[in-house]
């Protein structure tokens, strides 16, 4: 083996150079399908949505351009404004809870103890459920018939007998948040855990020797080192929460709506003239996501300097 290693490097270098220079067009062919699929199936519909939102009746061949009419209708609609509020409340509270709880769970299970793999598997279970099934499962616990949560809440006098959490708007939003936090905290926890495990233990040992407390160590060592991946995870979670649809569709129907479920209602359950309004709502949602991404990018650039 030793002689082979001595001989190969010289040949390898020239071969590698030749291969890379010659790989001119090949890589582009390899990445082409991926890029084409994404641009065609994701980017194009977005652009098309923006176009459709400027028409009056996109589903008919004789659609005409109506400019901002749909957007004006949208922002005059109390339901839509309400859905914006609902979406933001849901997003902020869910993401905050998931991050904090995820951090807590990660700290909790960070370390050697027997059954660690089993614990990680157990907390991954909620994440594996389709959101819609999670919603149905929690619905089973929230409803007035088989609802064990409703039962406990009645016993604890949080709600009157015979009532469920799902009867008030705020109750519905709370139920959605609980379900989403249940489902997504494990994901955040595992992501943070990975970040935690990269931190070399020498840092903590040195700090301990220098006399800093556990608390100080957390703030000065742990947090700064997981900030990077944490912010990225935060951004993606926030964007996903912004587009929340499944939960509100199942738990709330048309009673309380997120921007996405409002958009769905107008696109698919009403007259063809409402289709464009629904599309406009989706465009507003997308624009919100873009703005938030830009804000995140700015924040990241600022904190890095």
């Amino acid at each position: 083996m030793a002689t082979q290693a001595a001989e190969v490097p010289a040949r390898r270098q020239t071969l590698r150079d030749r291969l890379d220079l010659g790989s001119g067009i090949a890589p582009y062919i390899l990445v082409l399908p991926t890029v084409v699929v994404i641009l065609a199936v994701a980017a194009y519909p977005i652009l098309n949505s923006i176009w459709l939102s400027f028409l009056d009746n996109p589903l008919s061949p004789s659609a005409s351009f109506t400019g901002l009419t749909n957007y004006i209708t949208l922002f005059h609609s109390n339901t839509f404004i309400a859905s914006i509020g609902t979406t933001f409340v849901f997003t902020i509270i869910s993401v905050a809870l998931e991050t904090v709880l995820g951090l807590g769970v990660a700290l909790l299970i960070n370390g050697m103890f027997p059954g660690r793999g089993l614990v990680r598997a157990a907390i991954l279970v909620p994440w594996a459920f389709p959101t819609i099934i999670s919603a149905e499962i929690w619905l089973l616990m929230y409803n007035d018939r088989t609802g064990i949560i409703s039962y406990f809440m009645q016993q604890m006098h949080i709600i009157p007998p015979g009532a469920t959490l799902l009867e008030t708007s705020s109750g519905i939003v709370a139920a959605s948040i609980i379900t989403d936090v249940w489902k997504t905290t494990p994901f955040m926890a595992l992501l943070i855990l990975a970040g935690l495990q990269v931190i070399p233990s020498e840092l903590y040992e040195a700090a301990s020797v220098d006399g800093s407390s556990k608390f100080q160590q957390f703030w000065t060592i742990t947090l700064p080192m997981i900030t990077g991946p944490l912010i990225i995870a935060l951004l993606f979670r926030t964007l996903a929460a912004l587009g929340v649809f499944d939960l509100f569709y199942v738990l709330a129907g048309n009673q309380v709506q997120s921007m996405a479920s409002y958009s769905y209602e107008y696109m698919f359950t009403r007259t063809t003239f409402d289709f464009a309004t629904g599309v406009a709502a989706a465009v507003v949602l997308f624009a919100t996501g873009v703005i938030i991404s830009i804000i995140f990018a700015i924040v990241m650039r600022v904190t890095r300097s």
Binding site: P33, A42, A121, M141, V198, V209, A233
Partner: protein, 297 residues
């Protein structure tokens, strides 16, 4: 490191890596309690659903609801599985998930190979494009897709209508996973093969992929789960059991008068048991794959 030379009492090594070796301490006890609590919360709803699914009609409506079922019957499962729409939905979900996973694996591996092993301009642009998919709320895609699939490309209410948008969401998973795994693979073996005259593609599929099989496996599972969990595309791009996935079928389930909670619970169990089993057995792979992207960036 001079620090390591000193004898550091175990008690001082706290946050970060807790080497709990022997001995009882309140800190440890509270930590274990916390872990138990977390596990209970995570698994609790699953247990509740399972318990509900094996209760028979009368016990379902009992108030207060019973924690441990008094009756144990499979009537809900039998009832569900004898509904042809439900079994058709399960078939639909499976076919769509398998097709999407295979396609996105092939396409994604090609793309990942180029990124990991080749030099070309626009590499970061490609990665940025795959990442940007996460920024798009699916609801913003369904309008035009619906219009497109009912006019220009009439595949509405077919498997194709769902496979196409699903691929958009599984491709980034595959690309990021496999890029990370390919990068970590030492290039020796494939270069040896290429010196011997093998083409890049042969080297890729006959050497690299088998060596990164765990990564391929993990990518496949994550993709499968992602597609299995889809709801919004299934809801908007199908109309009935011809192609609807089971996630949508369950919501189109509702009876006229009473909501069949027992059947719904049984359906939820049927839909999720395969996922839960996969997750339980493969959690290590899944976690290492998920975090490979996060940590290595």
């Amino acid at each position: 490191m001079a620090v390591k030379e000193q004898a550091i009492p175990k008690a001082q090594v706290k946050v970060g890596v807790a080497e709990s070796r022997g001995g009882f301490s309140w800190g440890k006890a509270i930590r274990y309690l916390g872990v138990v609590l977390v596990v209970l919360i995570a698994i609790g709803p699953l247990y509740w659903t399972f318990a509900t699914s094996v209760k028979s009609g009368v016990e379902l409506n009992a108030s207060p609801p019973t924690l441990i079922p008094h009756t144990f019957s499979l009537e809900n499962y039998i009832s569900d599985l004898s509904v042809s729409i439900f079994t058709r939905d399960l078939l639909n979900s499976t076919i769509i998930a398998v097709c999407t996973t295979i396609i996105s694996l092939v396409v994604g591996i090609l793309c990942a190979y180029a990124i990991a092993r080749m030099k070309f301009r626009g590499k970061s642009a490609v990665l940025a494009i795959t990442l940007s998919v996460q920024m798009i709320p699916p609801i913003a895609m369904v309008g035009p897709l619906f219009v497109f699939f009912t006019s220009t490309l009439p595949v509405y209410n077919t498997y194709v209508a769902l496979i196409i948008p699903d691929i958009v969401f599984t491709l980034p998973i595959t690309v990021w996973f496999m890029t990370s795994f390919f990068r970590d693979l030492p290039p020796d073996l494939e270069e040896a093969a290429r010196v011997d005259g093998a083409s890049r593609m042969r080297a890729l599929w006959e050497i690299i992929v088998p060596l990164t099989a765990p990564g391929v496996f993990a990518a496949a599972i994550l993709s499968f789960i992602a597609v299995w969990n889809d709801f919004i595309f299934g809801l908007t791009l199908t109309a009935d059991q011809t192609a609807q996935p089971v996630t949508v079928g369950v919501t189109r389930f509702a009876g006229e008068h009473t909501i069949p909670w027992g059947e719904i619970a049984a359906a939820a169990v049927i839909v999720t048991i395969p996922l839960v089993i996969v997750v339980l057995f493969l959690q290590k792979r899944i976690v290492s794959g998920l975090t490979a992207g996060a940590v290595k960036g």
